[in-house]
Every structure is written in C-alpha cells, then in structure tokens.
C-alpha cells in the first residue's frame, strides 16, 4: 500500500500528543503504585479503607476519581490523537499536496485513522491492565478491557473522523457530545425524562454517541462480568456508519 510511507511521519507529527498521553498514563500508574505502597490489603490489592485511614477523604476519593477516569482513558486517547484528523490538513493546505497524487484521499486518511486508532489502542491496552494488576494485586479485568478499548476507538474514532471532514472543532465537538450523552443517559436512567414528548428521548438517544452501550461494556470491565457482545456490536456499527459517512463526505468535499 503506497500510503504506508506516511505512517512513520504521522506518528512523528503527533509525537507531542503521544508523549502527553504517556505522561497522563504515568499519573494513573503513579497513583496506583502510591495506593499499593500505602494501603495493601489482605489479598495484595489496594484497600480503600486503609487508604482512607492513611490519607483521609482526599486520598481515597482521588483514587476513586482516577479509577473512573481510567475507564475513559481510551476516549481521551482517541480524542487527543485524532483531533484534526482531516480538518487540520485542509486548514493548513497539506491536503492539496496529497490530493494531486495518483492515489485516493480515502486511502491516505483511512490509513491515518488506522495508525492513530492503533496508537490509541496500544497506549490504553498497556495502561489499563497495568493499572489493574497494580491495584488488584496481580489480577485484571481480562479481555473485556480490550473490547472496551476497541469500542472507544471505533465508536469515537468514527465520530471524530466524520466531524473532522466537516469542521475544525472535531475533537471538541466529539467531547461535548460524549459529555451530553453521559448526562442524557444518566437522566434517562433516573427516569427524569419521562415528561418529554413521545419519541423525543429515543431520537436524541439514537443521535448521541451510544453511552448506554459503553456503560454496559464498562460494567463488564469493572465487575469482571461476561462481555456484552451485543453492546459492542452496536457501538462498532455506530462507528462503522460514522466512518462510511466520513468517507462519502470526503469524496465530495472541497480541500
């Protein structure tokens, strides 16, 4: 594949973002090691009660927050690495340098998507099990971890790709949509949207990123339950539709 020559350059161009993500991952690992050193429980795992006795509420709640954010690390990695996937090239004029070559832009940006998706996956796939192993005293959530990461890469990667064909604020809009869908899902589950006009809740839920499915995958990851493959399939389908729309849009879009 002739576009393969760009892979090294793509990673080089994003090396600062990669380093930032590695540094961000190091915060989690440092917190896990700190917890482990200060409060190892009977079975070798970090014991929150002991942690509370050692550092009070700030230390215990800090570690819980980190644990919550850790589940979203793949989302953060996807947004950071894929921001400007197409839009940056259009703004800076790089896309025109590619567009005159006897190769398809779809191939170039498709390969970039795969490269950055693989990088986001690799970073998350190292961090999340390592964090588990430190915190749980040698145990980890198993393959559900990788399924969760893959779901984020496909689902949100597809969303960023589509937005990036259309606008420069791709990753920020994707983040906003992720947050809205998080809150929307919580409101829905709490029954607070019961008064909405018929069909509205379903329509908005359908249009937003599939947060309910992500929560099911996260639940399996956190509680070491069987993987809900239907939830993964839904997210993968959502991502593939987004990617297909991005490809169609790219073919007709001015560069």
């Amino acid at each position: 594949m002739s576009a393969l020559g760009l892979v090294g350059l793509e990673l080089r161009a994003r090396r600062r973002r990669l380093l930032a993500l590695v540094a961000f991952a190091a915060v989690f690992l440092a917190a896990a090691i700190t917890g482990r050193v200060l409060a190892t429980g009977e079975h070798g795992q970090v014991d929150v009660n002991t942690l509370f006795l050692v550092g009070g509420l700030p230390l215990a709640s800090g570690l819980l927050v980190l644990g919550w954010i850790l589940g979203r690390y793949p989302l953060v990695a996807v947004l950071v690495l894929m921001a400007g996937l197409v839009s940056y090239d259009r703004t800076e004029g790089y896309a025109r340098v590619y567009a005159v070559r006897p190769t398809s832009l779809l191939r170039i940006y498709g390969l970039r998507f795969l490269t950055l998706g693989a990088a986001a996956f690799a970073l998350s796939a190292v961090l999340m099990p390592t964090f588990d192993l430190i915190m749980l005293g040698g145990e980890w959530a198993g393959p559900a971890t990788f399924v969760l990461i893959l779901a984020y890469v496909i689902g949100y990667g597809g969303l960023v790709a589509l937005l990036s064909v259309w606008t420069r604020g791709d990753a920020w809009i994707a983040l906003l949509l992720a947050l809205v869908s998080l809150v929307w899902n919580a409101l829905s589950q709490a029954g607070m949207l019961a008064g909405a006009p018929p069909g509205t809740v379903e329509l908005i839920t359908f249009l937003l990123p599939p947060q309910a499915q992500f929560l099911r995958l996260e639940g399996a990851f956190a509680d070491v339950k069987p993987i809900p493959w239907d939830a993964f399939a839904f997210i993968a389908g959502y991502g593939v539709v987004m990617l297909a729309l991005a490809g169609l849009s790219l073919a007709g879009r001015e560069v």
Binding site: S2, A13, V97, V100, P102
Partner: protein, 308 residues
C-alpha cells in the same frame, strides 16, 4: 498529445460563500479557456485576480459554482486519481515535524513507486534541488527558500503530464531561479503541459509560450509570448542619435517612457550581431542590448490600464 486540450474551462464561475449558487464573493467569472497538451502557459494578474482559485478549480480542490472544468477530458479528481499531477502550491507547507528525506520518500510512495524506487527518486530530488545538507532536518527548520526548493522537489517526484506551479520562484535566490528555469525548460522539452502563476512577469515571459491575464476573476486577455514569426525581441539602448536605425532594424519601436530605448527584433544572435554591426557602422553608439524581458510587463500594464 500536442494539439488536444489538456485543460478546459467551460464558462467557469466560482463564488465563495454562495448559497444554492447565489450571492457570495465571485472569485472567477465565466472563465473559458483551453490549454493544449504539451504547452507552457503563464497565469498573470494582480493580487486577488483569481490565479490561485483558477488552479484550485483546475486540480479539483474546489468545485465550480457554474460551468465545468476538464482535465485530459475527465473531471479533475478522476483524472488526478488516475494520472496525478506535479503541483507546487502557493506558500507551500508540510507538517513542521516531518523530516526532508522521509517526507520525499513517503510522497514518492504516494506517486505509486515501490520502496526502492521511492528512495531513489527522493535522493535524486534532494540532489537536484540542493537539499543534501538539509535532508535530515525537520521541515519546520527550513528557511523560506529551502522550503520552496522542497516544494519544487516534491512536485517533481513523479513524471506527470500536467505540471502546475503557483509562484514557483517566490523566495528563491537568483542562482536557484536560474536553475529553476532550466528545470522548466526540461519539462517543456519533455512535452509536459506546464501552467505557472507568477508575479514575476519576466519569468513568465522566459518560460511560457502564452499567458492568461486575469483581473478580478475575469480573463482579460490571452497573451501570445512566442517570438513573432520566429524572431526574438530585444531592448536596444542607444546613446545619443539613432542614425540608420530603421535600416538596421526594420520595425524598431521606441519604448514608452524610456528615451533612446527601442524594441528591435532579430531571428537569432547571429542576425542580431550583423544588424548591430550595421548600426555601429552608421555611427550609432550602443549603450546596452538585452532580451526585451519587460515586454510582457508593458502589455499587462496596457491591458489592465485600458479597462481600469
């Protein structure tokens, strides 16, 4: 395929910010143009005339609001996917973190060459454009002139029928301008269709056979730059009187605003020398003689001045 139209603009209008084809700012207006294959054409005009928009439409970066653009008889994007083009954008840029040699290798791979051939072509381009000492540098660390040379190097990695250069000599020092001319001459000899936009009218006159004069999105004139009847034009400056000028150089014309300076014609250097000898024999004192590179400038000024 000399003689057939490589580039065709059919009543092309481009409006930016138009809604359903209406309103917006008109960058190009009803442009109709045909460039035969194998010819070198210049595109000239003041800032904002529409030169870059013309190129963007030609290469399918932008879609016309009205009319149609054809490249080799096909829609631009379809043509480019199949054949590609050599293109140097105005203000050429690439990601600043990229390094020179791997960039050229990667872009050569996009031209469809295998890894070994891509490396060979990259090294050839590095050599041709004097980038050897800078091959390991990041693009962001290159000076303006070096970046322009990298732009030319990447544009000419492939051997395409169509060559489009937007302000190619911008930022080049005099030595590299001369080398650039040799490169374009090479492309012309190889029968490529070359389109170049430049504010340097002398450069266009040297390199192109015709020039499209754009103003405010309209084609004002298509100027024929080929020497008339196979003759070349020279700028002859005489000190004092001009005895027997008409006999030595029939059709000599005084140049506007330059007393003692004439535009004269000769088929080649040998004929020019013979005619000059006749002039000197008649007692004229020649102060200078040079190719009349300013002719296009005068014609552009006249064409624009007539309308504006």
């Amino acid at each position: 395929m000399p003689g057939t139209a490589m580039i065709a603009f059919e009543a092309v209008t481009k409006r930016f910010g138009a809604r359903r084809g209406r309103g917006g700012v008109e960058a190009l207006s009803s442009v109709t143009l045909e460039v035969p294959a194998g010819e070198a054409w210049g595109v000239v005009g003041p800032n904002g005339a529409g030169k870059t928009t013309l190129f963007a439409l030609l290469l399918g970066f932008l879609h016309p609001t009205e009319g149609r653009v054809r490249l080799g008889g096909a829609a631009p994007r379809r043509y480019l996917r199949r054949h590609g083009a050599s293109y140097l954008p105005e203000r050429f840029r690439l990601p600043p973190e990229w390094t020179v040699r791997p960039t050229l290798v990667a872009l050569a791979r996009l031209e469809g060459y295998d890894a070994a051939e891509a490396r060979r072509r990259a090294d050839q381009a590095i050599e041709r454009f004097g980038l050897g000492p800078h091959a390991g540098k990041a693009v962001g660390a290159l000076s303006h002139g070096l970046l322009q040379r990298l732009g030319l190097a990447q544009a000419l990695l492939g051997e395409h029928e169509l060559v489009v250069l937007d302000e190619p000599t911008e930022g080049l020092d005099p030595l590299w301008r001369i080398r650039f001319r040799a490169v374009v001459e090479e492309l012309r000899r190889a029968g490529r269709t070359v389109l170049l936009a430049s504010h340097d009218l002398a450069e266009v006159e040297r390199l192109a056979g015709k020039a499209v004069l754009l103003e405010r999105g309209h084609v004002r004139e298509i100027l024929d730059l080929a020497p008339t009847g196979g003759e070349r034009t020279y700028r002859l400056e005489l000190a004092g009187e001009a005895p027997a000028l008409e006999e030595a150089f029939p059709g000599a014309e005084p140049m506007a605003g330059a007393p003692g300076v004439y535009r004269v014609r000769a088929a080649d250097a040998a004929e020019l020398s013979r005619r000059l000898a006749a002039l000197l024999d008649a007692g004229a004192v020649v102060a200078s003689v040079a190719p009349a590179t300013e002719a296009l400038e005068e014609r552009v000024r006249r064409a624009l001045g007539r309308e504006s």
